[in-house]
């Protein structure tokens, strides 16, 4: 018997299965995800995702916090673009209260949301490329991400956990240096995206590693509950900014990028195009920014300015009432969805009229996407699983809540 045939017969005897743990702290999982892979050679025969390593019980905590106090917890959902979670949550509470927010607050929310979308896609595309082996694109892009974070810092005083929105508007107005830096960012980021495309889009190695990997049909994507770039890459032009506009998105001129096959390459292209479209939106916001209040003038919702609290009895009472007793909430339930970087970020609020929400449900966009992981990688190679995982843009903070 030759060595080859011995090896072959042994393989047939025990099936030659190997179980490999990917995660919970594997460099390509970007957070604490664990995937138990069952391998035959290098082919994946079974992949069992395990989650919950970052479960902090955000929904439970929300039931014991006031509506305003929940905002910092939303930062920690998708921590790559925390401002979009702030906006999504505050939009939900404002829908429950049925209050409009000032024009300038809307504009600034759009401006910062789109900045966050660019920053989030930079992380996703850059890190996906690193996982596959293309390191340079990541470095080119992260310079721009740094500028985006500087802009967040200018606006909110925080780089990652912004907590920038308040119910009814924003925490504060943007400082003087913000707009010039944003203008510079528009030019430089656009150039960096061109550089990224020169590095990857026509790169044959990138094509070999991404084309056809993780392909999904539009029907399957809808059935799996895909939203956001992954759904659009499969050819469904669903973008809540267009389909169910909020914050005045219907007044901006931008296009939805869609793909055809839903594979890793299409998801990459969709994200790159979305970055450009986001820059277009930011350009338009900067052009129409006008001075004005950034939070509603309603003492039952928003805290009065500090100087008034110190000098006027009325304002002091309002301040005290809001802090101690919270807002007067109507009884009812709302579901409000916004288009976050990963897809539809939904907040389902049930109010019994009390100071705290009776139930807060966060609908994370990446949970349904991640649940299709086994389906996506079965029969593929480990290297492809890494590519698929990166293109799904799973953020553990949002997945586990």
């Amino acid at each position: 018997m030759t060595m080859d045939s011995i090896a072959l017969s042994r393989q047939m005897l025990d099936g030659d299965k190997m179980i490999v743990n990917m995660g919970p702290s594997h460099p390509t999982t970007h957070g604490t995800l664990r995937i138990v892979l069952e391998l035959e050679g290098e082919t994946i025969t079974k992949a069992t995702p395990e989650m919950g390593y970052l479960h902090r019980g955000v929904e439970k905590l929300g039931e014991s916090l006031s509506y305003q106090q929940f905002i910092p917890l939303t930062d920690r959902l998708n921590y790559c673009s925390s401002i979009m979670n702030n906006v999504g949550y505050c939009t939900a509470v404002e829908k429950l209260l049925d209050i409009p927010i000032p024009k300038r607050a809307q504009h600034l929310r759009v401006l910062l949301s789109e900045l966050a979308r660019v920053a989030d896609h930079i992380v996703c595309v850059g890190v996906n490329a690193v996982d596959i082996g293309a390191f340079t694109a990541f470095l080119y892009l992260f310079k721009q991400r740094e500028t985006a974070y500087e802009l967040f810092e200018l606006a909110s005083g925080q780089r990652l956990h912004t907590s920038f929105t308040r119910i009814g508007g924003l925490m504060r107005d943007i400082p003087a240096g913000f707009v010039p830096l944003a203008e510079r960012f528009l030019v430089e980021c656009s150039a960096a995206i061109d550089e990224l495309e020169r590095l990857l889009t026509h790169n044959p190695i990138w094509h070999d590693r991404t084309k056809g990997i993780g392909a999904i049909s539009a029907e399957d994507a809808i059935n799996w509950g895909y939203t956001g770039p992954c759904l659009r890459a499969a050819g469904v032009p669903q973008d809540l900014r267009k389909a169910q506009p909020y914050l005045g998105y219907e007044t901006y001129d931008f296009d939805i990028a869609i793909g055809t096959t839903g594979d890793v390459f299409d998801r990459y292209l969709v994200r790159v195009e979305e970055m450009r479209q986001s820059l277009r939106i930011i350009r338009q916001v900067l052009d129409r920014l006008e001075p004005g209040p950034v939070i509603v003038d309603d003492p039952k919702v928003a805290l009065p300015p500090k100087e008034k609290v110190y000098t006027r009895m009325e304002s002091l009472i309002h301040h005290f009432k809001l802090i101690m007793h919270g807002m007067e909430m109507p009884v009812g339930e709302v579901y409000s969805a916004t288009e976050a970087a990963n897809g539809e970020l939904g907040f389902y609020l049930v109010s019994d009229g009390g100071k705290n929400p009776y139930r807060i449900r966060v609908r994370p966009p990446c949970l349904p996407i991640f649940s299709s992981f086994e389906d996506q990688v079965k029969g593929g190679l480990i290297a492809d699983a890494v590519a698929v995982l990166g293109a799904m843009n799973i953020i553990a903070g949002e997945l586990d809540r």
Partner: protein, 166 residues
């Protein structure tokens, strides 16, 4: 509009309905769920956005299982609520909608509601021998002393193990 369709084609299934801030909600019995879902699917409500539950311990029928659907063609949303009492189970939608699989596992985990015909009814977020269901209203916020409950193998007892175990 969809509610009228349901009313016309499956008369008597909608036990309650309301419209709050533009969100349409219908309440149906758990026995009618599969028929309604089938109709919704045919009517174009193909994106099952979310499944969650709400606990109302003072109510006789304790839980509401809440489904959110989106019609991608007309962008209409519909919320379907299914009241379910402690110990009762709801038919699983995991066969019809693959996305229901994990959402239902999450409810199994956090609320302890069972789903009939679920292909993989394991806990999703917490570990298999986790005591209790965290999102129930009677589960204490700090976890309480459930970690010291009888039969629990986890070594949480002010950092000390039980006398017997030593």
């Amino acid at each position: 509009m969809i509610i009228e369709h349901i009313d016309a084609q499956l008369p008597g299934t909608v036990t309650d309905r309301h419209d709050f801030r533009g969100d349409q909600t219908i309440v149906i019995a758990r026995g009618d769920l599969l028929a309604v879902v089938d109709l919704l699917h045919r009517e174009g409500f193909q994106l099952l956005v979310d499944i969650t539950a709400v606990d109302w311990p003072q109510r006789e029928v304790r839980f509401d299982v809440v489904y959110h659907w989106l019609n991608l063609a007309s962008q209409e949303r519909l919320r379907v609520k299914v009241p379910v009492a402690e110990g009762q189970s709801v038919p699983s939608l995991a066969i019809l909608f693959k996305t229901a699989n994990w959402f239902e596992r999450e409810i199994i985990d956090l609320f302890g509601i069972t789903f009939e015909g679920h292909p993989d009814p394991r806990r999703l977020l917490t570990w298999p021998d986790f005591p209790g269901h965290p999102l129930r209203k009677d589960f204490p916020l700090d976890g309480g002393d459930v970690f010291c409950m009888e039969g629990c193998t986890a070594p949480y007892n002010n950092g000390e193990r039980n006398q017997e175990e030593r």
